[in-house]
Amino acid sequence: MIKKSENIYEIKKKGMNVPGRIFASDLLIKEVEEKTLEQIENVAKLPGIVEASFAMPDAHMGYGFCVGGVAAFDIKRGIISPGGIGYDINCGVRLIRTDIDKEDFLKKRKEIAKEIKNKIPSGVGKKGNYNLDLKELDEILETGVNWAVKNGYATKKDLENCEDQGCIKGADSTKVSQKAKGRGRNQICTLGAGNHFLEIQFVDEIFDNVVAKVFGLKKDKICVLIHSGSRGLGHQTASDYIRAMEEKFGWKNLPDRELACAPIDSQLGKDYISAMRSAANFAFVNRQLMMFAFREIFKKYFPKNKLELVYDVAHNIAKFEKYNIEGKKIELCVHRKGATRSFGPGRKEIPKCYQKSGQPIFIPGSMGTSSFVLVGTKESEKISFSSTAHGAGRVLSRSRAKNSLSAEKIIKDLEKNNIYLQTDSFRGIVEEAPEAYKDVEEVVEVSHKLKLGKKVARLKPLAVIKG
């Protein structure tokens, strides 16, 4: 591995079709494990990969692709790999703004956090409160947030301010197995467990006044951040297609069996893309219904205030996007696994209201630390296929976190920082402690300096709700 320039490292080895390129500071590069480098190299060996196998500043060891991995494939020669998207298809983040003052919220904080916890089931095995029949589920898979608008759970404005307008076209519910539907049917509007969370935050600092204004962010006002995905429906869809692809196309020539893949233009490749889009639509609706629950609860405490969607971003997904390559506009299939799209001004894919500024990007910190709002840039198209980080990125294994940290100390630290935690169980808390993650400020700084996504605002948590 060599340092190419400030915050950019490169790997070139025999057998790689393109180099591996890591965006990291001198501090962050030290935290990148050997296995992560191996995973970046493996991706660079896949057919049809263009330019480089990228790792974002928060990259760490995953399965198949590393987490924070980005790779673009030629649509004629390239492949699509579920392991390059992740089991939690369209795991993503939604940011909601309000006009509520921090001080007013603090007076009602505990009641609100408790009500949210009751209204949005979290943890393992819990069913959601929406009883969907299979016909309705299929409609969600194919029409996404449009279903929520039709049923009064979303406004037209919510639809506009969601990535892909809340519905990725080309979804086909018949490509999602009955098994996957069985897992997802009862899980809509449930948070899940692990690193998923709901956070009520306030705008602590604004770095870019002009863009913050466009995003509707004002200092000391309350925001809500929702981090969740497509639940069991997405997990099962990924598993089903990994199995189908290795059966159909084999895996003996692959550097890692988890990189099972199909040519993009094969029938199986197309089927997976339709299924992935269906699961992604399910995830958009999942986050939308949670937002609806927040609206219902906030209405009781702050009847005059509206909760408005800033944006909803996917950070586990593959998209077909056009880029200028050697003077030609070419469509590529961009895999982002634990990476956020960062389109700058003028991209037709982003909402009208963000056409001049670029799209909003959300990079949540670990539990109890700050989250960041960034804005997409024109420059990132050339550097990273319009991608940046998706979070702080783990640095400590769960077992090591469990052995070296105590739940009592973590809760005390949260209290000291004036953060209220609402959870069913403190057992999982140690695994999500800030010490188990990289420094989110450092991750964001690398993104900002390289112009992968530029800093707009910092948000600080006041209440955290977890499964």
Partner: protein, 134 residues
């Protein structure tokens, strides 16, 4: 030793051992139970029969874990242990477990993965390595 956990930054990695394939898979079920319950003892009030056919031992293992995760998500069945019989590439098992809603703070296994997976027959015993996505 039935199984042991190894370091993995994001997910959970473990190795399981058994003097034959059946016991290896039974010990894998015990490891999965420990991961899900975070070490709490899981009662055996419920029983389930499963039957899986796959192309090789690794895919059999992938599908076996897939079934355990599926039952937890759809029927709130939390596995405690399994009695396994493998013939060729076919696995029959009786799963013993409990209602997941009786336990708090369960770990969420999203799926099995092939990442770093192997099943090896070493002289007198079998060994498997698995990473599950959590």
């Amino acid at each position: 030793m039935k199984y042991k956990f190894l370091e993995h930054t994001a997910d959970i990695k473990f190795r399981a051992f058994g003097r034959n394939l059946d016991i290896l898979f039974e010990n894998i079920a015990l490891a999965i139970s420990e991961i899900l319950s975070r070490g709490e003892k899981v009662e055996q009030s419920l029983k389930k029969e499963i039957n899986i056919k796959s192309e090789d031992y690794e895919s059999l293992l992938y599908d076996f874990i897939d079934e355990l995760v599926y039952f937890l998500d759809t029927e709130q069945f939390l596995v405690s242990k399994a009695k396994v019989k493998i013939k060729g590439n076919e696995l029959r098992a009786t799963l013993y477990g409990d209602d997941a809603l009786r336990y708090k703070g369960l770990e969420n296994i999203k799926a099995a993965t092939y990442s770093e997976m192997y099943i090896k027959n070493k002289d007198k015993f079998w060994e498997a390595q698995i990473v599950v996505d959590v």
